[in-house]
């Protein structure tokens, strides 16, 4: 098994954190994993992305040229990365902030992650809605293990942050059933 994921959005949407939580969960499950960020000068605003590779064997290149999964949170990122998806790949799209023509040949699953996050009361957790959805669709990592990772990295004494992220994750995981 090897799963190559590119996660992209605008700076501030939490794509780096999404990737790190994904990587940490894979590590927790005993898998091999690499996380590689774009490290350009953007800090806020510009497009931001990271690449996560998960495998049950030694991982070669941490740099992804053909992604098995693209998680895209905004339109500029879609334009930049849609050409990097493999022919059997999956595009998970944040339809709140990105649109794509219906006639593309790749498999696309889209939900309004940002709108869902706003309904949960915190626009910043759109990334975790997307992560929950990814986990449920691809079944590479388990949602319950993501929750464990949350607990290990959440700032101590800030239960509210932990709670809303948990809600976002579970909301995202439910989307598949609905």
């Amino acid at each position: 098994m090897i799963e190559r994921i590119i996660i992209a959005g605008s700076g501030g949407q939490g794509v780096m954190l999404l990737g790190k939580v994904l990587a940490q969960t894979a590590m927790l499950e005993g898998k091999q994993v690499t996380w590689f960020p774009a490290y350009g000068p953007e800090v806020r605003g510009g497009t931001s992305h990271c690449m996560v590779t998960i495998s049950d064997q030694e991982i070669g290149s941490p740099y992804i040229t053909r992604a098995d999964t693209l998680i895209i949170l905004n339109n500029p990122s879609l334009e930049r990365f849609k050409g990097m998806i493999s022919s059997k790949g999956l595009l998970i799209l944040n339809s709140s902030l990105a649109k794509i023509d219906a006639d593309t040949k790749i498999k696309i699953l889209q939900f309004p992650f940002t709108d869902i996050a706003i309904k949960l009361g915190n626009i910043k957790v759109a990334n975790m809605v997307a992560l929950g959805y990814y986990a449920q669709v691809k079944k590479i990592i388990k949602v319950k293990n993501i929750l464990k990772v949350f607990k290990s990295i959440a700032p101590a004494g800030n239960l509210k942050i932990l709670e809303v992220n948990q809600q976002a994750l579970e909301e995202g995981a439910r989307l598949n059933h609905g």
């Binding site: 990587a23 590590m27 927790l28 994993v33 590689f36 490290y39 070669g60 290149s61 941490p62 040229t65």
Partner: protein
């Protein structure tokens, strides 16, 4: 569940490896893509240790010179343009026979270049880099775990041989995160991780001359013949290091028709290409030099005249020269390299191997 692994970046692993090895002095100047090292050292340096954000790379390397002269384990880190600035101090450290660890997380050059990963400082690292007849031991980690392990080892080697040791990585290795087991000196790369005793008596260090004759730390030898003597001592030291400190990894070399030669991040990409090629039945192998100086000679001593080498670099052919010297005309050598932010990818490697295989 895997026990006691943490997910950290190559830069953080180097910093943590240094602290684990007893590094108690760090001086550096910020430059991308290695800023996580200086930040980590600022935060994690033990209370008894010293962290200084220096006013320049020149000051930083000369502070390392001073700290090492004072007898403690000292490190600095930078990226390509900053390493060019440090060359003065590195030459003095080599000349004064001081141990030190210098980290270069390479970026694109020449000049200010860019901040993309590159391997274009290979010549500078392995040929000394500054003025004079000297070498550094140069170690090139291929994973975050190895970055952690080799950094620890580099302090031991520096003390054992009284020589500056360089950890040579690139932006990808520095920035990427992988699970790391924080053990004391692992042995993840093949070749030998001989662990010299960690506490070498530094009776040459400057501590005040109470109860002994004064110590002098210097690289200036004006008396006729004195500098030649000092140089011969250095050369004898290098000869021992050449014999004892070759490090490398070999993958599928016994049956390979084409052997890729690559280090660091480039070797990771080569491994991806190899796993695709092997599953298609192609006999491709890999030699991954871990010590770039001394450059491993043993793995190139192959009897099969029909083997072809393909050297892969994120540069336009620097390690290539060392491979030519090691192969010494016995087999054919091909090259694929990109630089300035370009990185050869799996497909380009596979295409190149097809072209090579068709040539007879």
């Amino acid at each position: 569940m895997v026990k006691a692994k943490i997910l950290i970046s190559g830069n953080e692993a180097i910093a943590q490896g240094a602290i684990q090895a007893g590094c108690s002095f760090y001086a550096g100047y910020p430059i991308t893509p290695q800023n996580e090292i200086i930040a980590y050292m600022a935060k994690q340096m033990p209370k008894k240790g010293v962290f200084i954000q220096a006013e320049s790379e020149l000051a930083a390397i000369n502070m390392v010179y001073g700290a090492s002269a004072a007898g403690v384990r000292a490190m600095t880190s930078s990226s390509s343009p900053g390493i060019s600035l440090k060359q003065e101090g590195i030459s003095y450290i080599a000349g004064a026979r001081l141990p030190a660890v210098i980290v270069n997380i390479m970026r694109g050059g020449p000049g200010l270049g860019n901040i993309a990963p590159a391997q274009s400082d290979y010549f500078q690292a392995t040929r000394g880099g500054g003025h004079g007849d000297y070498h550094l031991i140069v170690l090139a980690p291929g994973s975050v775990q190895e970055a952690y392990d080799l950094t620890q080892l580099s302090f031991d080697l520096a003390d054992k041989y009284r020589i500056p040791v360089m950890i040579l990585g690139d932006g990808i290795l520095g920035q990427m995160m992988e699970p790391v087991r924080l053990s004391v000196l692992g042995s993840r790369c093949s070749g030998k991780h001989q662990v010299p005793s960690t506490q070498h008596l530094k009776d040459w260090a400057l501590t005040g001359c109470k109860g002994r004759k004064p110590n002098i730390v210097k690289s200036f030898f004006l008396r006729e013949g004195a500098l030649e003597e000092a140089n011969l001592k250095l050369q004898r030291n290098y000869e021992i290091i050449r014999k004892k400190e070759e490090r490398f990894e070999c993958l599928f070399t016994s049956d390979a028709k084409v052997i890729l030669v690559a280090y660091g991040t480039m070797a990771r990409i080569a491994k991806s290409a190899i796993s695709q090629l092997r599953s298609a039945g192609k006999k491709v192998g890999l030699i991954r030099p871990v010590s770039l100086w001394p450059f491993p000679q043993k793995p190139f001593n192959l009897k099969n005249k029909n083997v072809k080498y393909l050297v892969l670099e994120m540069s336009y052919g620097q390690m290539l020269e060392d491979v030519k010297l090691a192969v010494c005309g016995r087999q054919r050598i091909e090259f694929l390299g990109r630089s300035g932010g370009g990185v050869p990818n799996e497909q380009q490697i596979i295409d190149k191997i097809r072209i090579i295989s068709e040539k007879s």
